[in-house]
Symmetry: C2
Subunit: 278 residues, 2 copies
DNA sequence: GAACAACGTTCGTGTAGCGCGAACAATAAT
DNA sequence: ATTATTGTTCGCGCTACACGAACGTTGTTC
């Protein structure tokens, strides 16, 4: 074992497992049993069982009296509704996102940055016969999704370094795994102001994403269109780019971007970085 | 094995700690630091620190870039909004609860049963000069709160046994700690249909609660008025009782109570169990 | 109705991973 | 500068966790 290979090194194992179990229940749209949870998160039944007890004791889960299956409980609900309204972009953007979906027929996705990837917060599936969508809760790889590249391109450079430090998984043969190539792609994204990821996460699928900025100009999310490469070419139609950009701008405006922007320049969190010294 | 004596024995310590840390952040209405969290949940700084890393890795928390303080993250938001809409009673009852508060001037509280107590889901503080309220997230003792007694009186008998198995804490000298007296009080609650808890949790404060029932006739929550014993006597004014009862009935109706109530009697969740062999 | 399968739950064991306390670093306050 | 308080890291010892297998129960199949 030469390489440190820090995958999960800093965290607490039992704590990570309990959160994984919680998520397994959350992502399932119907009550789910111990065995399914165990194999979903790759742990043994007995371990999961004890963790589920912990979650029940604290009210995050409830166990159906006669089926012995688990569903989310009141504490989970409460925690989510105590979360800062900043994440309520989902609600704010619900209408315009649906409109964009209806106008383009493509799946519309709202993501937010998370250490493991671009967390899908809200989605509106496409309207074509072959429906393409993304499940809320999914975490899209930062290097292989349009949203992820947005976060890498406009987010803190430490995030990029983190991603470049470990080897990137190749989901398809179009996935950009080379570090230099990825850096180049990111500077291209910065120039264009939008990101695409043709067949980088899944063959036949492309995505087009633009950044959401808050009142402090920090990128806090991304809106994206996802669809077949038939409807969403590697070089998307200008109309689509405009539409997504407008949606992102509207969302940013609703987040306070551009208003009361009186923070003295240079006082932002834009630590000098390297200015893309590449 | 007569008594199970399960205080915290069955859970996983690290898992419990990480959830406690998550809650500490959630209940704080502003970003909070490691030290405060540690002493809030009674753990050492270093342990809490590692747990916070786990929570960040999974996106439940975000760390403010320059203050190093923690706030709830997107995953917490998402989990809460994936919770079954049953807990959305809070939203459904928002209007009527506010109306009741305005009509009575007393704090209106919505609670739901949880193993540790009556979990406060939503509150509207009273309107008197001396404001009395309950913080969302608080877990009121089952034996010393009006809401808790509702859950004991109308919930599964196993819950009552559980509470009676351990010694009850006396918050004031009015708190009912004696097992027989509590059983008696519960049957009184069942007869009346409402519960009060004059000065049982806090001197000078009383509460008046009625049960919320879902479509299967199970008690899934309680609405309560909380206020000074000046405004809320140990034997509350009939008008107040009526008002709370009406609110609870309206809430129950919104939860589907009374419609398609065709479940055969005796088929409910009253499994014989061992009948309290102790 | 017996045999089977699958599930939730319990139990014992070895070890690694956790909690602890103290040291270190970085900031803020005096 | 000095002090105090914070966030972060380190090393150690022991606990309390993950594992695997067994148990009890439910539901399914022929």
């Amino acid at each position: 074992m030469l390489v440190a290979e820090q995958k999960e090194g800093s965290g607490v194992r039992a704590a990570d497992t309990v959160l994984a179990a919680l998520e397994a229940v959350a992502w399932a749209r119907e009550p789910i049993g111990v065995t399914q949870i165990a194999q979903a998160i790759g742990a043994t039944k007995s371990a999961v069982f004890r963790h589920l007890q912990t979650l029940m004791e604290r009210g995050y889960l409830t166990q159906d009296a006669d089926s012995n299956r688990f569903r989310l409980g009141p504490k989970a609900f409460l925690i989510g509704h105590l979360a800062p309204p900043a994440w309520d972009v989902a609600r704010i953007l619900e209408r315009p996102m649906r409109d964009l979906r209806d106008a383009t027929g493509l799946a519309t996705v709202l993501s937010t940055p998370s250490p493991r990837g671009a967390l899908v917060v809200a989605t509106f599936p496409g309207t074509h016969a072959i429906e393409i969508g993304v499940r809320p809760g999914s975490e899209l790889a930062l290097h292989a999704s349009a949203q992820g590249k947005i976060f890498l391109a406009f987010g803190p450079p430490s995030l990029t370094d983190q991603v470049l430090a470990v080897s990137r998984q190749a989901f398809t043969d179009r996935t950009i795994t080379n570090a230099a190539a990825l850096r180049e792609e990111l500077s291209r994204v910065r120039m264009r102001g939008y990101a695409v990821a043709p067949e980088e996460a899944l063959l036949g699928i492309n995505a087009l994403a633009t950044p959401l900025r808050d009142h402090r100009d920090a990128v806090v999310g991304a809106v994206a269109l996802v669809g077949s490469i038939q409807h969403l070419a590697p070089q998307p139609a200008p109309g689509l780019i405009d539409a997504v950009s407008r949606l992102a701008e509207e969302g940013s405006r609703l987040l306070g971007h551009g208003v009361t922007d009186r923070s003295p320049p240079g006082k932002r969190q834009n630590r000098p970085q390297d200015g893309t010294a590449s």
